[in-house]
Amino acid sequence: MAEGPIKLKSIASVAANALTATNVLSFREEFMMNIIPQFIPNTYQGLGVLEKAKWRVLTFVFDSDTDVFDLDYFVAAANIPVATTIVVTFTVADAAGTAETWTYQIAKSWIQRKEYGRIEDGASRNTFEYTVAMIGTKLIA
């Protein structure tokens, strides 16, 4: 078996809570090692946890909003993550445009949301950013 590169071209969709959004601008996954767990509450305010586990921070930026995380994020109440699985589908940079999926199976998670800009005629983007801190597993297919 020969080694070689894998190259992704774009994000096709993000799915959670039996919903699928395609208006994804960007996706970022940071896999945090458990080197400095005591820094977690300081770096990500609101988590308020001291987890002795490896964890991931997933950041989704949408071109305006989506409802895929509506069951997870509440402004006036505690966030109750119900999405046990988040699936991000990519398009591979090959001639066939092969699909690749990253499936996050979530054991524990916390979610935050930020809105940038304002809804205004002439504005280039009105982005919504969801950040999910999660403990669980990731599968690539």
């Binding site: 774009s10 970022r28 820094f39 990519f90």
Partner: protein, 177 residues
């Protein structure tokens, strides 16, 4: 006359292990950049940073310096190009005992073989050895670990690369070969 080295680009990065059967490593060629810098620990950060995946390396204490490294790839590298689940950090043996650079649930083993092949401006090849152990350019144990992975994928027009960036720390200095 002093040695003068002018780097041009990274040709490849080799990561794996070496034992009596010979070297076993991946040679990653889709490198966008490799960077390293010296970190000097001070004050009350010592305790926090002296623990690596529950392993406390000897000699890491007040004012002990170490290298923090970043390896940015044009997406990722596979140990089997026909199987996209074989991301190198999760499948390449890096200690000769089946350990991989990123253990999803447990402590990350140390990487014993880490060479960065650099092309100089005049075409000369230089190798930066981060686990140097004479007489070889590799083999030092408990000095280098992978400490993080960040994937960034964007649909914005004009995005030149979809990147995966790995971070490492190294407790000894780099040796040019």
């Amino acid at each position: 006359m002093a040695l003068e080295v002018k780097y041009d680009k990274v040709s490849s990065v080799e990561i794996g292990f070496d034992d009596t059967a010979g070297a076993n490593y991946v040679e990653i060629t889709n490198v966008l950049y490799f960077a390293y810098r010296v970190v000097s620990i001070e004050g009350d950060m010592v305790t926090a940073l002296s623990m690596i995946n529950d392993y406390v390396p000897g000699g890491v204490h007040h004012s002990h310096k170490y290298l923090e490294m970043e390896l940015c790839l044009d997406t990722d590298w596979l140990t089997d190009s026909t199987d996209r689940t074989t991301r190198w950090a999760y499948t390449q043996d890096i200690d000769g005992a089946g350990g991989v650079a990123i253990d999803e649930d447990g402590a990350n083993p140390d990487i014993e073989y880490f060479l960065v092949n650099v092309r100089e401006y005049d075409g000369t090849a230089t190798t930066l050895c981060f686990t140097y152990d004479a007489p070889n350019n590799y083999g030092a144990t408990n000095v280098l670990w992978c400490t993080g992975e960040t994937s960034e994928i964007s649909n914005e027009d004009g995005t030149p690369h979809q990147t995966v960036t790995f971070r490492f720390i190294c407790l000894q200095d780099v040796v040019r070969a």
